[in-house]
Symmetry: C2
Amino acid sequence: MNTSVTLVEVGPRDGFQSVGPFIPTEKKLHFLTQLDACGLHDIEIGSFVSQKALPQLADTPTLLELARDIPRLRPRVLVPTLQQGRRALAADAPCLAFVLSVSEAHNRSNVRRTPEASASEYVALATSLPDDKEMRLNIGTAFDCPFEGRVQVDDVVRLLEPLISALPRAEFCLCDTTGRADPKQVSDLFKAVGESFGRDLRWAFHAHDTYGLGAANVYAAFLQGVRVFDASIAGLGGCPFAPGATGNVATEDLIYMFEKMGVSTGCDLDRMVALAGEAALLPGAQSGGRARQAITARYAAELNSSST
Amino acid sequence: MNTSVTLVEVGPRDGFQSVGPFIPTEKKLHFLTQLDACGLHDIEIGSFVSQKALPQLADTPTLLELARDIPRLRPRVLVPTLQQGRRALAADAPCLAFVLSVSEAHNRSNVRRTPEASASEYVALATSLPDDKEMRLNIGTAFDCPFEGRVQVDDVVRLLEPLISALPRAEFCLCDTTGRADPKQVSDLFKAVGESFGRDLRWAFHAHDTYGLGAANVYAAFLQGVRVFDASIAGLGGCPFAPGATGNVATEDLIYMFEKMGVSTGCDLDRMVALAGEAALLPGAQSGGRARQAITARYAAELNSSST
């Protein structure tokens, strides 16, 4: 197939932020180092947000500083506003991940602004972005909103238009915030944005596995030409709208799927499975995914049978 | 989309056979009745095999008799040999599910015969099948063998040729026995058999979710025109090659996916989720799937927030 994909590891941000007990900064650094060693060089390492809102991610600026010693790592930091974006740039963050939601209810709940207000802040940030900095735009609730239900394709296209014009070299990620997208919907939306704005833009997809469709939705996006996928080690990151349910699609599940398909991820699956086992044991972590459990069980069975 | 699919419920056979403690016959009948009430009318209710080999399914003949009182139910019974097939026909089973594997090592381990010997027995059974009886042919290890690894497309095509000629009106199911197939492999194999034998045959797919690719593989098969899918309530049925890992793709996950896609399954998801919760609690059961947990958690959260 001779194709490759980029997996963007979001566990240290999207995963860790759902973990209650504070994960010490040196433990976070350990995961960044090991994720990088597994072949995951694009990592969302944290957020620039108010420390009061997300105490778990209060050490992001420190972590950004420490991450400079990991040579191949390209750290990303999430920023929800223009002000936080400027703060991240002042801290010399190489890549900003700006987040805004299509649905008004979700955007208000997330960042206390209308989507239009967030869009204006993004445009201000994007049009003044230094040439040596990179931008990822995360479009939340691109498929479904926990408050408003299914989101229409036209609403996503309309919201995207000025945002893409502002900085066409950015990475544009459609996020299935609730995990309620289905493969047909994913296929339809990426087809529509590809036709509206061009398939040569850098499209990305952020899948959740809440209803078991994470890998199916990623495959549907892949068939539409998407080559950048967010994923979280051990599937860390619960679902705030269904407490007790799992959240992000697991990085190791996507490595397994793509490598089996002959699509290169550049990642070492065995090493990643071991590291995911460690992440799943973090106090307060809610883990998901399937490949980790299956591969670990198979190794245990083989070890067992070879020792008798 | 105006499309529909048939979900074949295999939990009472493939799922229950992996449960250690004997499930009383009246409990099994309860599940058959309730599955039928959920809209699952095609159910593999058990196996005609030696009682010594599978004590859990020793009551299949009794169950077949009792199942006649469930009006819409179309029971299927698994048969691994010509002799057991004749026994099932003598018991007036309306639909036989014959199983044989592409890989010699797996077929020998499963039924102590070469694939060629099993194929001859199938042909003898199929060519003498009464007109009022139906046949499903399960091709095990069509993608991957626990002993021999990846299975080649040509080997599947070569094995299928005389089997399809013997009874073209049968249902032909390609089984991912180990759960190690990926969406591209599923897509390629169904494309190949469709081109070799015709897309108007009744093709079916039996997916496992061991590595988290159950729904993705089902979606890939669906895109190739497959409209019949095996699935197991609550994902019952572990993986004998990776003890501790989950097995069959969960019926409720497929109902969720297809209904979201606008593809009719004829099934009542909410009712199925409740029944799957009951199945997951069977003593000795190993459950899987995602939709059950997510939907149950969401309802609990809604109930919680509405009571405050």
